[in-house]
């Protein structure tokens, strides 16, 4: 794997490890409550109520990066969970059902006070019910109503016209669900919910995403990419999981400043950059080295992943007179814009243009069908714009089906056949 080039990246990695160790200590020694929640749930409410959270997808990425997914998933198969079941959302469950003792990543997850998920895919209510049962903890389910509106160019509506984008009746439902979640968090902590504190937090989230927007613009417009996507992801997501906190705000600003410095000094992540690549889909958590494997030979640099670009376009909500409603509008449409047509294809094409992309590598994880469905619409939209696109069938966390030689051959053929 390539050496980390940004001081921020080391800081982000250190923060996550320190934070998790503190969480375990607080839970085990002080008996404090924490929650396991999905990435698309309102972390902001937990933050305001003082309940630390472990994000399921982040934990899955940690397990995968530690090369433990194969062992956990093989054990799940032995327990009777067949191999076509979704892996990204269930790897955390596996880490609870299967006891690897001292080999558990970072000591393993302590018992949470509650779990929370939006019922997006049909498997989510099953995975989280099983997980809650295994822990003997409460599971709070949030609905995931579908959109009938599906307007063009959603990113032009999301910051100011979010009520219109999210459909008022869906926002009404989500507000009611958030109120119920607040009641549960109040019972759990004994703290009273403070709407003013939520507004202040969302304002800081907006500010944090504005820093990311500046970073995103610099990466897109600099002559050569100043920061690899693996480091973009590490920095952005560490801040997103703690979004709105003082640390997250400072980290986002430092990240922006460090990129600014590199751009000003003409520092490129890969001085040999000749081709700009876009990675569409979740991170390839079990093999981050893949992202840099084509730099030396071809000057092919992955410059874009959704994690940085998505922050400003989706998290920012201006007009916080009713902060709960603004938060609800963000929550209710989260997955739609990332995966579903027409939102995802339009947005990816817009981003490809802005980032001067030469070629796109599009992850198609068969082991996580809901994430994978819609990828052909994205591929078709990119190709229609004249942007060559390579579909890679692989799972983001399950290394068992990953054939590195075959994937590299496909990339070589793609670069030599369509990009050079």
């Amino acid at each position: 794997m390539a050496t980390k080039q940004l001081a921020c990246t080391l800081e982000a990695g250190k923060k996550q490890k320190t934070w998790f160790a503190e969480l375990r200590r607080d839970v085990f020694e002080a008996g404090k409550p924490y929650a396991i929640i999905q990435a698309d749930t309102p972390h902001d409410l937990f933050q305001v109520m003082g309940v630390p959270v472990v994000t399921n997808q982040w934990w899955a990425a940690v397990i995968s990066a530690k090369q433990l997914s194969q062992e956990y998933l093989d054990c799940m198969t032995a327990l009777g969970y067949h191999e076509d079941l979704c892996r990204y959302c269930s790897l955390g469950l596996a880490s609870t059902l299967v006891d690897l003792k001292e080999r558990a990543p970072w000591g393993g997850l302590p018992k949470p006070a509650l779990l929370c998920a939006r019922l997006t895919c049909d498997c989510i209510q099953r995975i989280f019910s099983l997980w809650a049962d295994a822990f003997g903890a409460e599971f709070i389910a949030l609905e995931a109503p579908g959109s009938s509106l599906l307007p063009d160019r959603w990113w032009e509506l999301s910051r100011h016209r979010w009520e219109e984008l999210s459909e008022p009746y869906r926002v009404d439902l989500m507000v009611e669900e958030l109120r119920k979640l607040i009641v549960s968090l109040e019972k759990l902590t004994g703290n009273q919910f403070d709407m003013i504190a939520l507004r202040a937090l969302l304002e800081r989230v907006n500010q944090q995403e504005e820093y990311f927007e500046e970073a995103h613009r610099m990466i897109a417009t600099a002559p050569k990419c100043p920061v690899r996507i693996s480091e973009q992801i590490t920095n952005v997501m560490a801040a997103q999981w703690h979004r709105g906190t003082d640390w997250a705000l400072e980290h986002a600003r430092n990240f922006r400043d460090e990129i600014q410095l590199r751009v000003n000094e003409g520092v490129a992540a890969c001085p040999n950059e000749k081709l700009r690549l876009m990675w569409v889909g979740a991170g390839l958590w079990h093999n981050a080295g893949f992202y840099t494997a084509f730099e030396e030979r071809y000057g092919a640099v992955f410059v874009w992943s959704m994690y940085l670009a998505f922050g400003p376009d989706w998290y920012i909500r201006y007009g916080l007179d009713d902060p709960l409603r603004a938060l609800a509008s963000r929550v209710v449409t989260m997955n739609e814009v990332l995966h579903n047509a027409p939102y995802a294809p339009e947005w990816i094409v817009k981003e490809a243009r802005f980032n001067r992309i030469d070629g796109v590598v599009l992850l198609m994880p068969k082991g996580s069908r809901p994430s994978a469905s819609g990828t052909l619409f994205i591929a078709n939209a990119l190709e229609a714009e004249g942007i060559p696109t390579l579909l890679v069938e692989a799972d983001m966390v399950d290394s068992r089906g990953w054939d590195n030689d075959a994937a590299e051959r496909a990339m070589v053929n793609f670069i030599e056949g369509r990009l050079q």
């Binding site: 009777g80 498997c123 109503p145 819609g374 052909l376 619409f377």
Partner: protein, 398 residues
């Protein structure tokens, strides 16, 4: 739909008509369209057909089993559920143009993706024309906000159907529709009694064919045919160990036929086709729309019904009834939903002293049937041996 199976029946005219509707699922609706009737297509089992009937329209469930997906494969991933791929193919080919509307419920993620896909192929110009498509936002979490949300969306659907149908949807037309659909449920309950009877149960194949056909005929026409068939009792008698099927929806009868051939008898299935179509009657008094909504919101099997204990209840209760000798878990690729329930359901089966077999091949494909036949034969032989041992133990004890 290609289906060269024997009719498993002694030539009853009613069965032939039901079998024809089962095989050629759009034929009766197309005839009705030629007579000027509006046809409303829908997917899944949570769209209130009573609303469609009350609007004077023909309700037609879209549930293709086989066919080409060559065009759809350019837009829909090949690992998507086959029924959604087939529906997109038909939509793009103009084969659904005889429909006035397609209603897609938010009752599975697969159907939600189908809704988005149909919209998108239209938007990008890959399909020209085609019927209007509407997302019916029925949610299934059992809490007040979800119930109120779903009821409001159901009222929206009433407005939509009233605009395209021959009649306004009101309490009276809904009550009339309920008479017909409740009669269907009652007849399906009688069918289910026949399947569980010790005397002359119909073969699993015949029973499932006539149950599935309910979704492709107008309720009153279907009721007449099913009543005749039940009255005639002309079916070939099913034999062998009595099996309960759990797992993926069975919109076809290939598994039942394989079980018949292997010497077993499927007498019930969990899911939205078959035994559970004989759901409780919908109360006709009070507010019919609210009663109809409640039925589809909480009373029918649905993978998004939550909490999950509600969804599991029917299976747990059925396991404890007399007359079930074993369980077939049917979880063919690309299932990524029902498999999550398998370990707990397997434990429930074993807890009541029954055995099970897990099938992961898709019997809709002819090339996968020999392996399934081999597995079923072995399972039924083991079941038969086990029953003989148990019978001898009982004899010894007595």
């Amino acid at each position: 739909m290609p289906d060269n199976m024997s009719l498993a029946d002694n030539g009853s005219p009613s069965f032939r008509q039901l079998h024809a509707a089962y095989q050629d699922r759009y034929s009766e609706a197309k005839l009705a369209r030629q007579s000027g009737k509006s046809i409303v297509g829908y997917v899944g089992n949570t769209v209130p057909v009573e609303l469609i009937v009350a609007a004077g329209c023909y309700p037609l469930r879209l549930a293709p089993v086989s066919g080409s997906t060559a065009t759809a494969d350019h837009y829909i991933e090949t690992f998507a559920d086959i029924d959604t791929r087939l529906i997109v193919e038909q939509f793009m080919a103009g084969e659904l143009d005889f429909l006035s509307l397609i209603i897609i419920p938010r009752s599975t993620e697969s159907y939600h993706k189908l809704y988005l896909s149909l919209r998108e192929v239209k938007r990008v110009g890959a399909a020209s024309g085609g019927p209007d498509i509407t997302l019916y936002e029925i949610l299934h979490t059992q809490q007040r906000s979800s119930r109120e949300y779903g009821l409001a969306r159901t009222r929206d659907l009433v407005q939509r159907l009233s605009a395209i149908g021959a009649a306004a949807v009101d309490d009276r037309s809904l009550s009339d529709a309920l008479v017909a659909t409740n009669q269907t449920r009652d007849l399906l309950r009688r069918l289910q009694q026949a399947r569980r009877s010790a005397e002359r149960p119909p073969s699993g194949y015949a029973a499932h064919v006539v149950a599935v056909a309910a979704s492709f005929l107008e309720p009153r026409s279907y009721n007449s045919l099913l009543a005749n068939w039940l009255g005639e009792s002309a079916w070939k008698t099913g034999r062998g160990p009595r099996l309960l099927v759990q797992g993926c929806p069975l919109e076809h009868a290939f598994l039942h036929h394989s079980v018949d051939l292997a010497g077993g008898l499927v007498v019930a299935e969990d899911g939205d086709w078959g035994a559970r179509q004989a759901a409780p009657l919908i109360a006709g008094d009070g507010d019919p729309l609210a009663a109809i909504f409640e039925h589809y919101y909480a009373g029918v099997p649905c993978p998004r019904l939550f909490p999950h204990t509600l969804a599991d209840r029917w299976f747990a209760e059925t396991l404890r009834t007399d007359g079930i000798d074993g369980v077939i878990f049917y979880l063919p690729t690309p299932d990524d939903i029902y498999g999550w329930d398998f370990p707990n359901q397997r434990a429930a089966v074993e807890a009541v002293g029954l055995t099970w077999t897990l099938i992961r091949k898709d019997v809709r494909y002819p090339e996968e049937r020999p392996a399934v036949a081999t597995q079923l034969t072995a399972y039924l032989a083991a079941l038969d041996a086990r029953q003989r041992v148990q019978a001898s133990q009982l004899t010894t004890i007595s």
